[in-house]
């Protein structure tokens, strides 16, 4: 296929990476959710593009799921939650965003370093892979640098975006659709959990006020 097609694929993947950085940078929850929605849409675009490139129609399903579930349903749900829990102005970071950014850059460098040296695998898959890996690592980074449950969920979801990106990048990989469905269910569970257990603050406890005394084997037991 012509080079252009790959460049577009790269563009989309690169766009996701940039959005991951935006996620890291953002510290107001509402904004974070919006950025994530954009990333999800970007993902669905790139998946759709892959479907076109690999002429694998079933990938369209994945793209659709990504668009609908992660682009619209979940963001709206999250917006509702934060409104319900009155934390939409919450600003919470463990380490300053500047440092986070630097770490993020380091991670990107690392992932490129890891994937770059070319083997038999065709070049563009490689570079796609580098982007995907970077997105994953950044998502993980986001999960551990945010105290707020919602932002952590978002971090996990962007990690999962990276996974889908990689999976769809792998030509002719079976079960991709099923797996993306499974992941969406998983995320639904998490969001559901956040909602039901009313996790206001962090993943540490289901409910700070009620549970600090209940963490397994308290020191003072």
């Amino acid at each position: 296929m012509s080079k252009l097609w790959f460049d577009i694929a790269h563009l989309l993947a690169g766009g996701m990476l940039v959005l991951s950085f935006a996620l890291l940078y953002q510290d107001r929850i509402a904004a974070v959710i919006n950025v994530f929605a954009v990333q999800a849409i970007m993902l669905s675009l790139s998946v759709a593009w892959q479907a076109l490139v690999q002429d694998a129609p079933h990938l369209i399903v994945t793209a659709a799921i990504a668009l609908v579930v992660k682009g619209f349903v979940i963001p709206t749900a999250l917006h509702q939650i934060i409104r319900r829990l009155e934390i939409h102005r919450e600003v919470e970071q463990v380490i300053g965003s500047g440092l986070t950014m630097l770490t993020g850059l380091g991670l990107v460098a690392l992932s490129i370093l890891l994937v770059q040296p070319v083997g038999e695998v065709s070049i563009y898959v490689r570079e796609d892979l580098a982007f995907a890996l970077a997105v994953i690592l950044l998502g993980l980074l986001m999960m551990i640098t945010r105290r707020n449950a919602i932002t952590q969920v978002v971090g996990f979801m962007s990690l999962e975006n990276g996974l889908i990106l990689a999976a769809t990048g792998a030509k002719g990989m079976p079960l991709v659709v099923e797996i993306s469905v499974a992941f969406s269910i998983l995320i639904a569970f998490i969001v559901f959990g956040v909602f039901v257990f009313r996790i206001r603050e962090r993943f540490d406890t289901v409910d700070v006020s009620a549970l600090d005394r209940f963490r397994g084997e308290r020191r003072d037991a």
Binding site: L114, V115, P117, G119, E120, V121, S122, V125, L129, A132, L133, I136, L140, M143, F156, L159, E160, G162, L163, A166, A167, A170, K171, G172, M173, P174, L175, E178, I179, A182, L186, F189, I190, G193, F197, F203, T205, V206, D207, A210, L211, F214, R215, G216, E217, A221
Partner: protein, 478 residues
């Protein structure tokens, strides 16, 4: 027509909706046992006849004994859980509605684990492991106590991250294999992967393994990915602790080993052994020290599971026929003993009405039979003869010292530290003046005794076929 290999997946799968529909918990429990029995029968049927490989399923020396082990422990646990849950219902800790859910999830778990074991496809195996994780998450939280929910939540989050990383590793493996084996299912099937291992790109392979190690290592409970394990064991219902420790950890380790086989076939790939040795030793030593400060009896044995998974991982990391043999034996013995211990612990916690070690003492006075059962279990898990774990630790330590004296010193130190903690708690619980209630436990000791009997036999004599399986697998593991 479905052969036994498919049956071990299909039977539980069918049982799931069935059990979800049954309202009477007695009927549910017996149906549960029935399903497990059928699965066990199907599994034993695997011993006979040929099993043609497909791109999805495969039966070879490696997974056949694990399948039988899994179905067997699943079966005994189902018997145990019947009596256990009856008691839980009595004291009103659970409602029949939850039991319906519980039984369904139990079968889902069995189905998932069997799927992961018989899968010839890394994707299918991944799905199996993840479904198993989710179903156990459900059951860990079933008591709805704040601790239980918190434990389930921790398990859920850490598990999901593990899922993600493992999946990325799987994708990488596919990508690597794709160029050699070709697109689609073949590029994901074990036997082809192992066969074509030498041609695969070593660098990407190593990268993939790192993700798989972290992903599945979280399931195995290796330190520092272990955090979910102790709480999940301590807060969930005891039968689930039994299958978690006894089976799920094994399945995850099995997955890791399959990938190790692939890398072992590729000399240019990174030295997996060193990494596994490091993680194994870390888990062993860490868990050994953690054992001392445990106040909750189930959490205590959860940490001992971490310790033993560490030992097994260390063994496979060392490699070589003896160490691999020891590792396989260790896996097997651990799942039998540990589930047996959890049976005993469950009964103890029920009769004493608490899981706090400080509140349990002198059960050899009040419940001699239970005490003997428990003591034998702990003695076996501590690696004392004449039980099977002594054999595996004998092979491991002795063969290691001849090759890596320093490592084996660390290993021995860790073993000794853990040993001390276990014996200390054993004496606290079994001996001394009795505390708490003395009323007889209504419990079925049979499953636990069967487990210990098997372990005892294995300690004195290993059947020929088992030795053969272990040998061939050990050779493959390199």
């Amino acid at each position: 027509m479905i052969g036994p290999a498919e049956a071990v997946i299909v039977i539980p799968a069918v049982a799931v909706p069935l059990l979800a529909g049954v309202s009477s918990y007695r009927l549910g429990a017996s149906l549960n046992i029935l399903a497990c029995t059928l699965t066990l029968v199907a599994a034993t049927a695997l011993l006979f006849g040929e099993h043609p490989r497909s791109n999805l399923l495969i039966i070879d020396d490696f997974n056949i004994f694990l399948i039988i082990l899994t179905t067997f422990v699943g079966f005994t646990t189902s018997i145990f859980s019947a009596t256990y849950l009856a008691h839980e219902i009595e004291i009103g800790r659970l409602t029949p509605l939850f039991l319906r859910f519980y039984h369904a999830m139990y079968q889902a778990l069995m189905c998932a684990m069997n799927a992961a074991l018989v899968a010839n496809n890394i994707g299918l195996m991944w799905v199996g492991v993840e479904v198993a994780t989710l179903s156990t998450v459900m059951m860990v939280g079933i008591y709805r106590t704040p601790e239980a929910i918190e434990a389930a939540w921790k398990y859920f989050i850490l598990g999901s991250v593990g899922i993600g990383l493992a999946f990325f590793g799987t994708i990488l493996i596919y990508l690597v294999a794709q160029d050699v084996v070709g697109d689609g299912l073949p590029a994901m099937s074990w036997d082809l992967l192992v066969k074509s291992a030498p041609m695969l790109d070593p660098k990407l392979l190593s990268l993939a393994f790192v993700f798989l190690l972290v992903g599945y290592g979280t399931k195995v409970g290796l330190a520092p990915f272990h955090a979910w394990l102790p709480d999940a064991h301590a807060e969930g219902p005891t039968p689930i602790s039994a299958v978690l420790s006894g089976l799920l950890l094994n399945v995850a380790l099995y997955a890791l080993l399959r990938f190790k086989m692939v890398l072992a076939g590729n000399p240019a790939a990174i030295n997996v052994g060193a990494i596994m040795v490091g993680l194994g030793l870390m888990s062993l030593v860490f868990a050994a020290f953690m054992l001392y400060r445990r106040r909750d009896i189930k959490r205590l044995f959860a940490y001992s599971s971490i310790e033993h998974m560490g030992i097994a991982t260390f063994a496979f990391g060392m490699g070589g026929p003896l160490a691999n043999f020891a590792g396989l034996l260790h896996m097997t013995m651990h799942s039998l003993i540990k589930s047996g211990i959890f049976f005993a612990v469950g009964h103890i916690a029920q009769v004493k009405g608490t899981q706090r070690i400080a509140a349990i003492s002198g059960i050899s006075v009040t419940h001699p039979v239970l005490a003997v059962l428990f003591s034998f279990g702990v003695i076996a898990i501590a690696g004392l003869p004449p039980f099977g774990m002594f054999t595996s630790e004998f092979m491991l330590v002795s063969s290691t010292f001849a090759r890596q004296p320093i490592l084996s010193i660390v290993l021995v130190a860790g073993l000794l530290v853990g040993f001390g903690a276990l014996i200390l708690r054993l004496q606290d619980i079994v001996f001394g003046d009795p505390t708490g209630k003395a009323h007889p436990a209504q419990a079925s000791y049979v499953p636990a005794y069967v487990h210990l009997m098997l372990v005892l036999i294995a300690g004195l004599w290993l059947p020929e076929p088992v030795v053969e399986w272990f040998r061939s697998v050990a050779a493959l593991l390199g």
